[in-house]
């Protein structure tokens, strides 16, 4: 594959002679030999007598060298051009015409980041309005549906209770147990210096009843269930199922969102209870196994913890449930018509749900503290 095998230039006739196989494997070699025939040299004639093969990619190299308009002119007087090669050049020139017709792309000025920042802020504001709007719509639909049991979607409701609740029990219990054990160890390490190892039990009990039990369950659901709601509804959106619902005058909020919210409303408090019990158990195992606290002692101290702490903790569960379900569903509705969009909104849904859960928990902690509950 010597460089001279593809083109030869005859400067006396200003003739460019093409030869050999102009196929895509030789693209770089042809490009190189064309470059040697510098574009400064005038080309008035093309000779195709020894051209064996031609394809669109290699033909475009010639067009780039002498410009498409010039190529068009030269083709008319070209020597011994095979009909198939002429067809290729015609297709190529047609493509150049289409490219020439399209408008050039506007380039972005350097200060465009200011516009981007503005667009981002206004988008955030808009997202908040959309969320409020959606919560309003869900509340209204809920008010319409709840008094009419015949409009409850029992099957869907139970399905989501099973998916989001029952199926999550093992992982919630395990997480609660492990975190309970960790908190007990942590408490023991710190409290030992004060000779107050016994208060480890209180730490675990207060911690899990007021905060950790419900928080762990909510965080798990935010990751596990909000994402699955988004993906389910998003896939329906991509498949135009939501549009089909609208055309059939079915309310997508009533059919898709209400059952999911109701399912989480039931299951999150139950999961919180399981998580709390598992946490206390984890604490108990550590206390009994390595802190020399007997099981009776553990239960006695546990009994002395006022039950209202448990109710304070559990009272947050319905709020978490609603916000997780609402964010999960809303992000699903925001999906546009591509698979990529499902991924983006699933990520966004988990991040938002986690953030909302932790923000709500912080607000609730402040509120309960001020109320001295």
């Amino acid at each position: 594959m010597s460089d001279s095998s593809f083109v030869a230039y005859d400067s006396s006739k200003q003739l460019l002679k093409l030869s050999g196989a102009w196929s895509f494997e030789n693209y770089s070699a042809i490009d190189k030999s064309l470059r040697q025939v510098s574009s400064q040299q005038p080309i008035q004639l093309l000779d195709f007598a020894e051209l064996e093969r031609l394809d669109l990619n290699t033909a475009s190299l010639l067009a780039e060298l002498i410009s498409p308009t010039q190529l068009k002119k030269l083709l008319e007087s070209a020597q011994q051009l095979q009909p198939t090669h002429r067809d290729i050049f015609h297709q190529l020139l047609r493509a150049y015409d289409i490219q020439a017709q399209s408008e050039p792309q506007a380039t972005r000025p350097w200060y465009s980041f200011i516009a981007d920042l503005g667009a981002w802020v206004s988008k955030l504001g808009y997202q908040f309005i959309v969320l409020m709007n959606f919560i309003g719509r869900v509340s209204l639909t809920m008010l319409q549906v709840l008094p009419r049991p015949q409009r409850w979607r029992i099957t869907s409701w139970f399905f989501h209770m099973q998916q989001a609740g029952l199926a999550a029990i093992p992982i919630v219990a395990l997480m609660g147990f492990l975190v309970g054990a960790v908190v007990a160890f942590l408490g023991a390490t710190v409290l030992r210096d004060f000779g107050a190892t016994i208060y480890t039990v209180d730490l675990v009990a207060f911690g899990f009843m007021r905060e950790l039990g419900v928080l762990l369950a909510a965080i798990l659901l935010a990751g596990r269930t909000a994402s699955s709601f988004t993906a389910q509804i998003g896939a329906m959106k991509v498949n135009e199922e939501l549009d089909a619902m609208q055309v059939e005058q079915l309310d997508s909020v009533e059919l898709l969102v209400i059952p999911r919210i109701l399912a989480l409303l039931i299951m999150l408090p139950l999961l919180s209870f399981i998580s709390t019990i598992a946490g206390l158990l984890g604490g108990a195992v550590v206390a009994i196994a390595s802190l020399d606290i007997s099981s009776t002692q553990y239960l006695t101290i546990l009994n002395e913890v006022p039950i209202r702490h448990f109710w304070v903790g559990l009272s947050k569960a319905p709020f978490f449930a609603v916000i997780i379900a609402v964010i999960g569903c809303l992000e699903g509705f925001k999906v546009t018509n591509s698979a990529r969009s499902i991924g983006e909104h699933t990520t966004s849904s988990v991040v938002q749900a986690l953030f909302a859960v932790i923000l709500l928990d912080a607000i609730a902690a402040l509120f309960f503290m001020e109320m001295q509950w």
Binding site: F24, L56, N57, Q91, A95, Q99, S102, S338, R340
Partner: protein
């Protein structure tokens, strides 16, 4: 253009394909000649797409052999299968990015040229697949199939979902490219117009194997009930009449 002494570019021999207990193909034979446009027809669910996947190598037949002698193939999938995370131009240029030593700009230049060739301007090239219409996706996918100058392309329902005008333009594009570049084309279609307009031969897939393969006129004469219903049903008849009128007109002129 009959080349009897040349080896077929694709040979499927004694292909049997099973999914679980359901048999899709049984003892199926098919030869595709170099440079021809072969239309593959068959009822919905007859296994046309599976056969295409078997020929490409995406699906391994239970028994039988596939000999593909093409150096480079291009595939147009039924729904385009453009990569959703890239712009259309990047989609088309991706095989060049990955398999050639061309610079990024050079690869994108060729990609934009191929897009223009299938009728997409550079503005469309900068968009993402999700922002394109079905017809534009088909065109972009064809550009991607052609970018490495294959000697054989497989098209799965290239004109499905296109309006008749776009479909006819797509047919003509495939025909001119095939003749100019010496491309071998295998296309699965339900579009009788495509069969009449561009196919050199038509293969009918029914009863788990190829029951007829020949020029369209001869296949349409086959006595099989399904073929009769397909080519001589109300839709088939209308198109046959239209095309025979056209050829009569050209003969007069």
């Amino acid at each position: 253009m009959v080349m009897t002494n040349v080896q077929p570019i694709l040979t499927l021999k004694n292909i049997t394909t099973k999914f679980g207990t359901s048999v899709v193909h049984e003892a199926l034979d098919l030869d595709v000649n170099t440079g021809e446009i072969l239309g593959l027809v068959g009822g919905s669910g007859a296994g046309k797409s599976v056969l295409l996947r078997t020929a490409i190598g995406l699906n391994k037949p239970t028994t039988g052999s596939v000999h593909l002698r093409a150096k480079q193939i291009g595939v147009l999938f039924q729904h385009g299968a453009l990569f959703s995370s890239m712009t259309v131009a990047e989609n088309v240029a991706l095989p060049l990015f990955e398999h050639t030593s061309l610079s990024r700009n050079e690869a994108l230049r060729l990609a934009r040229l191929k897009l223009a060739l299938v009728g997409l301007d550079s503005a469309a090239g900068e968009r993402y697949p999700a922002e394109l219409s079905g017809g534009m996706i088909k065109r972009a996918a064809l550009a991607r199939a052609l970018i490495r100058e294959p000697d054989m392309v497989f098209l799965d329902e290239p004109t499905a979902g296109l309006d008749p005008i776009s479909a006819a333009a797509f047919d003509q594009l495939i025909l001119t490219l095939s003749k100019a570049l010496g491309l071998t084309v295998v296309l699965v279609t339900h579009d009788l117009d495509t069969l009449y307009a561009i196919c050199d031969r038509v293969a009918v897939l029914a009863k788990k194997h190829i029951i007829a393969i020949d020029s369209l006129a001869k296949v349409a004469e086959h006595e099989d009930a399904w073929i009769q219903a397909y080519f001589h049903g109300p839709r088939g008849r209308a198109i046959i009449e239209q095309h025979s009128n056209q050829s009569a007109n050209t003969a007069e002129n």
